[in-house]
Symmetry: C2
Subunit: 118 residues, 2 copies
């Protein structure tokens, strides 16, 4: 639980969690918990994804074929499932990033609207 | 149904719909359908909120006390319920806008991360 895990934040994240996971894995293969750690790291330690959201999302993305897994050895010599981005996942990441940029731009525009524009 | 109402977009919007409604109503009182029209307008005609999402949200926000309604007459002389932002709603709008700005900034940062940073 980090400071950014309020209810509202989680609402917002529901739509973007898949995108953030694809992005994290695009930077290099990761085991499940490693995805959490990388998102935390590249968010400037602002964002904590909950494990209860992470694992169903990894399952869903693997099922969709946007990530693939293979067994490997973790830093502490345990067997762990490592996830990597597939070619399909790379395309999906590009599409979803473009969608995010477009939609967040629209929302930013709405929030800047003044009474004169309405 | 506009171009911005794909499934993914709707996912994203779930967390921000309340915020967009508060913003729309903050620009002046509106009847229910007018909220739709104003969001469409101030989004540069990019965003179409579905009525099936709008009315439950208006109900919820009125119940929370962030918007209040009174009966008035619409442009075509029909009785219509007009919504306005309450003082509580104004505070909420500021808080939620700040949350959105923070969270969208974090996501933007994650999406810009390069392998060297990971």
């Amino acid at each position: 639980m980090g400071p950014a895990t309020s209810d509202k934040t989680n609402d917002l994240l529901q739509g973007t969690l898949d995108l953030l996971i694809l992005k994290a894995v695009s930077l290099g293969p990761l085991h499940g918990y490693g995805v959490l750690l990388r998102i935390h790291q590249i968010s400037g330690e602002e964002l904590v994804i909950q494990q209860g959201s992470l694992y169903p999302a990894l399952y869903r993305l693997e099922h969709q074929g946007t990530i693939a897994s293979e067994w490997g050895e973790s830093e502490n010599n345990r067997r762990a499932k490592y996830y990597r981005l597939t070619d399909l996942g790379r395309v999906r990441l590009e599409i979803e990033t473009a969608k995010w940029n477009r939609m967040s731009g629209i929302i930013d525009g709405i929030l800047r609207a003044t009474p004169e524009e309405a």
